[in-house]
């Protein structure tokens, strides 16, 4: 029997064995969009999370037609196995995974450990950019059952599980952004009242690979399994990593990624905000 993990996660040896498989497309997605240009796994195409995956004007996804045009240009077909990987412990690869699911791509997987594990293992990387013939990609959706919006988050305080996956210093309000970024941000510090702080990093080992299903189940033991769950971070990429764990690896039923996340919530007028180590009251 194929486990959920085997359907959605592949290791480096699997990728190495499928480098010449025409139905497997490797896609690199990074926060540092220059990383791909310095070297990548042979045959991998690049998606720029900012240029390719965001609407150029509004703060939102590209629409369905835009997603179809993007994947067609990259030569990806709807029945291809898409294997995503990237830096930052697969944050943006997980974001792209969730995004591909919003638009209905059936067979998407993550390379466990992403670019870091591949590099730490000293596996080969190349500078050659592959040429793939353009395809005619047809998307479905968008599937908003896996995406949360701000009003839903406010209404979920005290009724659903809310998971803040940022670092403890961001949750309490001591930092406004991950510590590799400057801290001058326009939004208020803090967290959504009642949100549990389960940093995304607790789900991964130092080399970026996901922990075992048993360890992950224990990690999220504080969630009420009878309730729906919303995960958020600062801009929705780390929470996509947690969404992947909860929805794809552990199989929780109703899990949504709030990609507006703290940069949106912390800028809203009139909503409750909690400071400090405690989740806070509804």
């Amino acid at each position: 029997m194929t486990t959920a993990r085997e359907r959605v996660l592949v290791n480096a040896d699997w990728v190495q064995a499928h480098l010449a498989d025409p139905k497997v497309v490797l896609v690199e997605v990074d926060e540092d969009v220059s990383a791909y240009d310095k070297g990548h796994i042979a045959g991998a195409v690049k998606l720029d999370w900012r240029e390719d995956l965001q609407d150029p004007v509004r703060r939102d996804f590209v629409d369905k037609a835009g997603f179809e045009a993007l994947l067609s240009a990259r030569g990806i077909n709807r029945d291809d196995t898409v294997v995503l990987y990237g830096g930052n412990n697969n944050w943006f690869a997980a974001y792209a995974y969730w995004y591909f699911k919003v638009y209905g791509h059936e067979d998407v997987r993550l390379l466990d450990g992403g670019r870091k594990k591949w590099e730490l293992d000293s596996r080969d990387m190349v500078a050659d950019v592959p040429t793939r013939p353009a395809s005619s990609y047809v998307a479905s959706g968008p599937d908003t059952s896996i995406r949360a919006f701000r009003d839903e988050v406010v209404a979920s305080i005290g009724t659903k599980n809310i998971v803040d996956v940022r670092s403890p210093d961001e949750y309490t309000g001591r930092l406004l952004a991950p510590a590799h970024l400057p801290q001058e941000q326009p939004n208020r510090p803090g967290h959504v009242p009642t949100a549990l702080n389960v940093p995304w990093s607790k789900a991964a080992a130092d080399d970026g690979t996901f922990k075992s299903d048993e360890a992950l189940s224990a990690l999220y033991g504080g969630l009420d399994r009878s309730k729906s769950t919303i995960a958020y971070c600062r801009i929705g990429e780390r929470s996509a990593h947690t969404w992947f764990v909860l929805h794809e690896l552990l199989g929780l039923a109703d899990v949504r990624n709030y990609d507006g996340s703290w940069t949106e919530y912390g800028s809203l007028v009139g909503v409750p905000v909690a400071l400090g180590d405690e989740p806070g009251a509804a």
Binding site: H180, Q183, P189, L275
Partner: protein, 113 residues
């Protein structure tokens, strides 16, 4: 638990030199409001690019991670306090180094693998 201060002390913007390594330059950063942790990773005395440096808080929890640039350099904007720098690199054992950061200062650390 206090929030990040919104007071605005006199700006003390530091300009990195033209040769500042990518990923570690402090151009345009208001250091009076930042607690910067920066440094270099070396192997056999030479700067090592492509090492992974993670910033762990006083409870050991991950806060951030960066990859060293061509000059082996890394940089974090931390909150004031005690931190551990954990460095991973190909063909090297993991190295942990403790560091203290304070507002308005740049803590510099050299990590030898």
């Amino acid at each position: 638990m206090s929030a990040i201060s919104t007071a605005s002390p006199a700006a003390a913007v530091v300009n990195g030199g033209c040769g500042a390594p990518a990923g570690a330059a402090l151009d345009g950063v208001d250091l009076s409001r930042a607690a910067v942790v920066t440094g270099v990773v070396r192997r056999d005395g030479a700067p090592l690019a492509g090492a992974y440096v993670r910033l762990l808080d006083s409870s050991g929890e991950f806060t951030a991670e960066v990859i060293t640039g061509d000059e082996g350099a890394f940089r974090f904007f931390a909150a004031p306090g005690s931190w551990t720098l954990r460095t991973l690199a190909p063909r090297a054992a993991t190295v942990d180094r403790d560091v203290r950061s304070a507002l308005g200062t740049v803590a510099e650390v050299t990590i030898d693998l």
